[in-house]
């Protein structure tokens, strides 16, 4: 597709690697200084998270390096794993079996295929319209009416969050932005970077200063201090990265603000589901972070909004 390694990409990649190096160093220093048992656990979790970040950055970098198709395959795989975690936690009945088979093996690949061929008109409506109608039809044909609406709604929700919303990340590559042709890879990098760094900064500010909880019954780790500090600093970083985007510094700040805000909301909503199901994490695939869905909850909510804002104002 349309990715190339220009100077700005090198700066972005170099910046992320430098950041990881510094974090690893800080994590190592903290591990020497931790004395209390509780402190040791926190630091061990922090270091596991940093190690996982190295892995995730390596995978993401590799996907980007192979051009657009690599990114599409990576996010398709991410959707697959997230969907698997989500459906595992969701009570379904054997009457849903065929519908589930459809969403994993036909609708999911089809969505990413539509993204790959850049058919905006269809990838934007395939799941919200056609899959939306198809799932209850398929489940009704199976003939099990017990909790029919709940089961159908859960499958549709899983599909929207884990497939439709996530697929908006590689869909950024298909945007036709004037004066930015061939550089969309940077836009995707920028988006993922802001969304994830906002998570990290909210966590860091919350750990350092946090005391006023936002929604203790949903997510005990989310505090006003973490929220404000994280969003403000991530927005500043976003503004400072305007040179890699089609935006001016002010526009870039606005976009980053939207990304971080939606990312925060994504984390909150996905936490509410976890609390309801009585689990702490969606899975255990990523050391220190939990499951794939725990890591991408902010991306799920931010990606469609960022895509449509960019598409509306810049194409």
């Amino acid at each position: 597709m349309n990715l190339k390694l220009d100077k700005q990409t090198c700066w972005l990649v170099g910046g992320v690697l430098a950041l990881l190096l510094v974090s690893s160093l800080i994590g190592w220093l903290l591990s020497l200084r931790a004395t209390t048992d509780e402190g040791k656990v926190t630091v061990r979790n922090l270091n596991a998270r940093i190690r996982a970040w190295w892995m995730m950055v390596a995978v993401f970098g590799l996907a980007m390096a192979t051009g657009g198709i690599g990114s599409i395959v990576l996010f398709a795989l991410t959707s697959f794993l997230a969907l698997r975690e989500f459906i595992t936690l969701t009570p379904t009945r054997s009457g849903d079996h065929r519908s589930l088979f459809w969403i994993f093996f036909i609708i999911l690949p089809l969505q990413y295929y539509l993204i790959a061929i850049k058919w905006y008109g269809l990838f934007a409506i395939m799941i919200p319209v056609f899959a939306f109608l198809f799932i209850p039809i398929r489940s009704a044909m199976a003939g099990d009416c017990e909790s029919f609406l709940e089961r159908t709604a859960k499958i549709q929700w899983a599909l929207m969050i884990c497939v439709y919303c996530v697929s908006y990340v590689p869909a950024l590559l298909s945007l036709d932005i004037s004066g930015y042709a061939g550089q969309n890879g940077k836009l995707m990098f920028y988006f993922v970077l802001i969304a994830q760094i906002s998570d990290v900064l909210q966590y860091a500010w919350g750990k350092m200063l946090g005391c006023h909880k936002i929604a203790p019954s949903v997510s005990p780790n989310k505090t006003w201090e973490g929220f404000i500090g994280g969003i403000a600093s991530a927005t500043l970083i976003g503004a400072g990265l305007w040179w890699a985007t089609p935006f001016t510094p002010i526009q870039s700040a606005g976009m980053s603000f939207a990304i971080t805000l939606m990312g925060f909301c994504g984390g909150l909503v996905m936490s509410a589901i976890k609390r309801d199901r009585g689990v702490k994490d969606y899975g255990n695939m990523i050391q220190g972070h939990g499951g794939v869905l725990d890591r991408i909850d902010s991306l799920c909510f931010a990606a469609p909004v960022f895509f449509h804002l960019t598409r509306f104002f810049f194409t």
Binding site: I87, T88, T92, S94, R98, L100, F104, G278
Partner: protein, 200 residues
């Protein structure tokens, strides 16, 4: 080679996380007894074992099902090294217990599903008597309860296409036949040992 491939595939499809709750993997002789909801069950337990244990462990399966096609026969004999037993009309000559005792020999372990068939819900049906007779004839063997969860959603009874959800399997602490324990008491204790592995 083929065996390792099958094991890796089963792990991917079932996403199965093995929890060794009550014991550690070991090559000593054991009978793993589990609840049964899916055709994947034996495969999932078998593939969760470390390769050296797996090589000595034989799933016990219904002969009528596994000799129906060439592929099934190949899988049962060459991949899983299954012990095929008659479950419909056992006779003195064609006795599943004898077959299982013979299969245990002096180094093998078995995987059995004492409910006698696949269940459709999450309830565990009462166990059949074979487990008791095995325990009585082989007091030297450890009986390890195994609980399989979510596999009925991956491949429910009557379906042939698996959905890639995450299953889990838990291995509990071994039990043995107590002195003077009768058949019903032992079977009930065994069933409870499987139930007790349910994670909240």
């Amino acid at each position: 080679m083929m065996k390792a491939l099958f094991a890796a595939m089963a792990k991917f499809i079932s996403g199965a996380n093995a929890h060794w709750v009550g014991c550690e993997p070991n090559v000593r002789q054991r009978v793993y007894f589990a609840n049964h909801t899916s055709n994947l069950d034996a495969l999932v337990i078998w593939s969760a074992l470390p390769p050296e244990v797996r090589a000595l462990t034989r799933p016990v399966a219904a002969r009528d099902y596994w000799i129906k096609s060439k592929l099934r026969r190949y899988l049962a004999n060459n991949i899983f090294n299954a012990v095929l037993i008659e479950r419909k009309k056992p006779t003195a000559h064609d006795n599943p217990l004898k077959d299982m005792l013979k299969a245990l020999g002096d180094c093998h372990s078995l995987i059995i599903f004492p409910e006698g068939g696949r269940q459709t819900g999450t309830e565990i049906a009462p166990f059949k008597g074979g487990l008791f007779h095995l325990a009585k004839d082989r007091p030297d063997v450890e009986f390890v309860p195994v609980l399989l969860e979510n596999l009925n959603r991956i491949l429910p009874k009557g379906e042939f296409l698996p959905v890639p959800l995450m299953g889990s399997l838990s291995f509990g602490g071994p039990i043995k036949l107590e002195a003077g324990e009768d058949k019903n008491a032992f079977l009930e204790r065994a069933q409870n040992a499987v139930k007790a592995l349910q994670r909240k």
